[in-house]
Subunit: 250 residues, 2 copies
DNA sequence: GGGTGTAATTCTGTATACAGGATTTTACTA
DNA sequence: TAGTAAAATCCTGTATACAGAATTACACCC
């Protein structure tokens, strides 16, 4: 489960993760050159990655201006949550319909991880795991398109939380997850849907007051944490920002 | 409602339409050079268009082989229909919730167009209008993400029909559309959902026996019908297939 | 001091070059 | 004649060049 990614996917994945974990706050500029230098690839590939992320709603890339991490409006946020509720309800139904005992173990294992991260105060990890719980459900539903759409809205929700939510509020849901798992295990569709709806309502509710923590920070530094390239694979054909010097060290 | 498209979008749109109308049967090769010559743009842009269409599930583009119009498996087809049912049910609810009298007129107008096309035996147009009915509903739901996802699955369904359906069977649904409109107009959500489910069940059911009508045909000829560029805008920087001669006239 | 027009700079849009893969053709062997 | 290896060709992966749009910096004026 590793060798199938193209170079574009690698960049995509790194950026996606960075955005989801709110390491790149909404509105952050993403200049093609700089990303290219970071990922050791040409603008051609960076561009493809950005296009992909734009189609997922994680990046804004208006014609002829620098792409940025998306800043969804409140209206868009509402839409995303609306779709998400619809998808997750159906996913719950599907998962229950094809329930197998392994599912319970799998999900409970995950919730335990969430719990651990939460206790350890690992905000970044908590956020990621919280999202992955829903993704995992999507996978158990056995429909790859559901899975894809769900992945998309879940990512976008992380972004929305980053933009509108109170800081560090995305990860208070471990208990709710646990209850959902219990309902699934007892194959009680009604209860599970009810819980899921409530859970998502709570998540959405956390999207409230805004606040501009727009502090300047170093794009390269953040991204390097998400680039899994084994160190500076030098000898690469791509020079370090051949076209201009990075402005990060301003 | 015309000047907002980038060049990539133009190509995308043309290809999408051609695929949806089944003018480019599943499995048709789409070499970047040839498309570039057709659309008067470089491979760079063609590539972006193909990537987009791949993400919509209309094109298969495995690494280092020529892209083709997608050939979904039966399993994938099942998945698409499953998601589609979920989305459309919710759309029906939303449309009813925000119902306004204009909606009725709008939809009925559309159904009349479908009827007309059907009578005129315009298969191509019929297929397009049948899809657009659902798109229109998606628009009335007032959620652009629903709209986008719905558009995607509807397109894919056209493709699936092209692959698995009996020829010319995609457009027998005018009456069903009419009934749905009636139910919406009376704001009877239960009935409307019931009808929609039944309708989609019927559409899905038409996806049955396969059949290989794979006859050779001329890619350029088909595409030129979908390229709205005002004639050969010669003087263009792009030569006609500079790298090799077209094989179409084989 | 705050506009504002213009020059400099940054950055995107797009074509194109070149290096391999993938495929097809050709040629040769059993 | 079928099978296969080598060669030719088609086609994609990717970097890069260059043109022009957007943005920023500056100088000038009121």
């Amino acid at each position: 489960m590793s060798k199938k990614s193209t170079r574009v996917d690698v960049a995509c994945q790194a950026l996606r993760q960075a955005i989801i974990e709110q390491a790149l706050p909404p509105g952050t500029k993403l200049p093609e050159d700089e990303l290219g230098a970071q990922f050791r690839m040409s603008r051609t590939l960076v561009r493809a990655a950005l296009a992909q992320l734009q189609s997922e709603g994680l990046v804004d890339a208006p014609p002829r201006r620098t792409a940025t991490t998306a800043k969804p409006t409140l209206e868009e946020a509402r839409e995303v949550f609306e779709v998400r509720r619809t998808l997750e309800r159906e996913v719950v139904r599907l998962v229950i319909a094809r329930w197998r005992p392994e599912f319970g173990a799998e999900l409970e294992g995950h919730v335990r991880k969430e719990e651990a991260a939460r206790k350890a105060g690992e905000a970044r990890v908590s956020i990621r795991l919280a999202g992955e719980f829903h993704i995992k459900l999507g996978e158990l539903a056995g429909n790859s398109l559901f899975r894809r759409y769900l992945g998309e809205v879940v990512s976008r929700c992380s972004l929305i939380l980053a933009l509108y939510g109170r800081p560090h509020s995305a990860d208070c849901a471990v208990n709710e997850h646990r209850e959902i798992v219990a309902a699934l295990r007892s194959r009680n569709a009604e209860a599970a849907i009810e819980l899921m709806d409530h859970h998502l309502g709570a998540v959405e509710h956390r999207a409230l007051l805004d606040q501009d923590r727009d502090a300047q920070f170093d794009l390269g530094a953040v991204l390097s944490r998400y680039t899994e390239t084994a160190e500076t694979g030098n000898g690469s054909k791509i020079a370090r920002l051949p076209r201009r010097k990075t402005r990060a060290a301003k």
